[in-house]
Symmetry: C2
Subunit: 114 residues, 2 copies
DNA sequence: GTCGTAGTTTGACAGATGTCGTACTACGAT
DNA sequence: ATCGTAGTACGACATCTGTCAAACTACGAC
């Protein structure tokens, strides 16, 4: 029997490129991923503050988890989030870093001009 | 006055990462991009055969163009499509290649196991 | 001109998506 | 046992998306 707070993740081989790209294509989710990458360690949901309500956050974190981009685990009442760097790197070498670097460049451009 | 067959593209600086990722997240469009990359040169719409009707093709090519992934130009009645490699590379270095390589790996895996 | 070919436009439609508010659940602290 | 906190579930909603069919437009060839 599964514990009341079980969380299911796709196996490494089940991760699909299209779903990963779709997950990363949303501004809110891309922001989450950038923060996770910047921290390097896992973070709980609420320490990543987002311009949306709690229920919308839950939705975005689920999309990220189900697409294989993050791994979520409970630590008491907090739900910790971590990038699945190893899985993504072995499946799609260089992809995550390319997206993160692209997002960084774009953010810099946005900040610089305007 | 614009010619009857004018095509508008986003300027380089207007290309947004989120839109590019969204454009690449669709299987049909990813397939188009992979073929364009494999050929290396521009191809007309109908020589890339897709499992959808003509009107759906038009839709996908427009999404790719408006997101800045491809450039379209008329050559007689044919509409030629080319990847905007230079623009993408300067904005998001390594991104397109990472996605293409990821798509290649996934295709190889799909072909191998089943 | 007339015709065929390549692609567009429009309208329709079912399904997905992002968002919210409210009610709920699980856990730790007291 | 009670309470507060972190997050979930559910239902609602407007919008977006991928798809098609049918009618249309622009161009080259004849």
């Amino acid at each position: 029997m599964t514990s009341p707070r079980a969380v299911t993740h796709p196996a490494r081989e089940e991760i699909r490129l299209e779903e990963v790209l779709h997950a990363l294509a949303d501004p809110v989710r891309l922001h989450v991923v950038r923060q996770l990458a910047a921290e390097g360690t896992e973070m709980n949901c609420s320490c990543i503050d987002l311009p949306v309500t709690k229920s919308t956050s839950t939705h975005h974190f689920r999309v990220l988890r189900e697409s294989g981009v993050i791994r979520q685990t409970y630590r008491g009442t907090a739900k910790m989030n971590a990038l699945r760097r190893d899985a993504l790197e072995s499946l799609f070498p260089g992809l995550l870093d390319a997206v993160l670097s692209a997002a960084g460049h774009q953010a810099a451009r946005d900040a610089a001009h305007r």
